[in-house]
């Protein structure tokens, strides 16, 4: 009985920190999320509010993971490259979030296309981290 009370506490306290490979996976995941949400919005199949929130969320998540990565960068890749691609992605995502509000689809598409380029780069970086593990 005591066990059932102590367990939830234990869960909250104990969760091991993510490895660099997991962090890179998360980066890929969030950049792709932004891309996919952007696609859906361009097709007019998702509400503006949702799209803006999803973009803001991925921007914020990328910021957090980026800060962590800067503290302990994965040894296999160039820290500066990673840093710049993260900053660029976040810039595009932030622009997209703004353009949703303005309902400016053409400019949104331009930003989305640039994000796609960064998405591929992020994927390459993540793969190289994975292969060195």
């Amino acid at each position: 009985m005591k066990r059932s009370f102590a367990l939830p506490l234990l869960f909250v306290l104990a969760c091991k920190p993510p490895t660099p490979a997991e962090q890179m996976d998360a980066v890929v995941s969030w950049v792709s999320t932004a891309g996919m949400a952007g696609d859906a919005w361009l097709r007019h199949t998702t509400p503006d509010n949702y799209t803006r929130q999803a973009l803001q969320l991925s921007n914020q998540q990328l910021l957090e993971i980026g800060t962590e990565l800067r503290k302990s960068p994965p040894p296999a890749i160039d820290g500066a490259t990673l840093d710049s691609v993260l900053t660029r992605s976040r810039f595009h995502i932030a622009q997209m979030a703004r353009l949703v509000e303005e309902k400016n689809a053409p400019d949104f598409k331009t930003q989305l296309d640039s994000l796609r380029t960064d998405q591929r780069l992020v994927k390459q970086l993540s793969d190289s981290v994975e292969s060195t593990q």
Binding site: S4, P8, F11, A14, R43, D48, A54, S126, Q133
Partner: protein, 404 residues
């Protein structure tokens, strides 16, 4: 004729009971990260559930006792109390998660953040229990639940590689991320084999006044209903494997899950997902609140029936009122429902033996079941489930720490 109708409704009800925020998130996470590899966990969970649900219904139909009635009578109050504490804590967490799921569904539709929905959503759930009848809740929630079939439609539209799907039905161990893989398998099993479903089902059999003549119907409902539910879960996993995994999207948050069906059904996928989530979580929230109230009322021998006026079974009504009020609080504070879900799934696995071991005794009780008690096949199945549940209980905590 009436029985045929009941049969159809029963099957749909069990679908409603099966698919909820836990099974959707775990299946989506599994598909997004490991492709078809974890399909076997859904298959195993579904098979276990078919047997457990059939037994729950049979116990009620023959003995006119619910599982909780019988457990209190056979094992006495001190043991009952331990199960009560464990069951209420976990069911409460699941309830918080389901209410959060409804709130999230509304959030992606309207843009209003989910903590704002905590009060209105809890109120509507409560109002339905307060004013509604059992059949309204059972049948209404389940008919609406048919919208979740869109998961299967999406899976087909993405043309999965069927040989890959089939190989996923056989357990395998991945080369990397073993802890995460194990954690997700445990969570999927925890999401499928949820004891509250057994308690709810056996109470429902009493509410619907089942007798021995319902044994074949019960068998049919358990078999087809749970299979149907399992296939829906597999649909979620397959869609996630095809739509999210290639892009490397993991399902950590709800806005990511919302993109699940946008590839398969570009036009309606987003809205169908939101609707499915709202409806499925709503049905589950009702079932869990009632299951908790049933548990108290039956265990302590109070009057209980969802069809009575609240004041005619005041303590029963009081329990679900309090529990739904309390469940709104963590959501108001902005606790992440997905985290609560994952935690409650692992905890369900950890406490499974507590629910299943007494159940084995009850299902062999000659006084309750006479000649309808478990045969050796059913007993072997329960023995295997107990074995699985002990393994789950032992590994779920370390896996939560390493893979959660």
């Amino acid at each position: 004729m009436k029985k045929i109708l009941q049969l159809a409704l029963g099957v749909i009800t069990s679908v409603g009971g099966f698919l909820e925020i836990g099974s959707v998130t775990t299946a989506a996470q599994a598909g997004a990260q490991f492709g078809y590899q974890l399909l076997w966990a859904i298959l195993l969970g579904t098979l276990c559930l078919i047997f457990l649900i059939e037994m729950s219904g049979r116990l009620s139909a023959v003995s006119k006792h619910t599982i909780v009635d019988a457990m209190r009578e056979r094992f006495g109050f001190p043991f009952f109390f331990i199960v009560l504490v464990g069951m209420v804590i976990i069911a409460f967490m699941v309830l918080v998660a389901e209410l959060g799921g409804i709130g999230f569904g509304l959030q992606i539709l309207t843009g209003v953040a989910f903590p704002w929905w905590a009060i209105p959503v809890s109120f509507v759930v409560w109002l339905l229990m307060w004013k509604g009848s059992f059949s309204l809740i059972e049948n209404g929630a389940s008919l609406l639940g048919l919208v979740t079939i869109s998961f299967i439609v999406s899976a087909f539209k993405l043309h999965p590689d069927w040989s890959g799907v089939a190989s996923g039905l056989v357990p395998s161990i991945p080369e990397t991320d073993k802890a995460r893989h194990g954690f997700l398998a445990v969570s999927i099993l925890g999401a499928s084999i949820s004891p509250y479903l057994m308690y709810f089902y056996s109470s429902g059999a009493i509410e619907d006044k089942w007798d021995r003549s319902y044994i074949p119907i019960n068998r049919f409902i358990a078999g087809f209903g749970m299979t149907f539910g399992g296939v829906l879960s597999m649909g979620v996993l397959v869609v996630a494997a095809l739509a999210l995994q290639p892009k490397g999207i993991q399902v950590e948050t709800f806005p990511q899950a919302a993109l699940l069906m946008t590839t398969a059904l570009p036009r309606w996928g987003f809205y169908l997902f939101a609707a499915s989530m709202i409806v499925a979580c709503f049905g589950a929230a009702l079932e869990i609140s009632l299951a908790i109230a049933y548990f108290f009322a039956q265990g302590f021998g109070w009057n209980w029936s969802e069809d009575l006026e609240p004041s005619k079974n005041s303590r029963f009504a009081f329990v679900y009122t309090i529990i739904i009020l309390l469940a709104a609080i963590p959501l108001l504070l902005g606790v992440d429902p997905i985290k609560v879900t994952m935690m409650s799934m692992a905890l369900t696995s950890a406490t499974l033996p507590l629910a299943i071991v007494p159940f084995l005794f009850l299902m062999n009780d000659p006084i309750y079941l006479g000649k309808y008690r478990n045969g050796w096949i059913s007993n072997s199945v329960v023995a295997v489930i107990i074995l699985i549940s002990f393994v789950l209980a032992l590994i779920s905590i370390p896996l939560q720490i390493m893979g959660g």
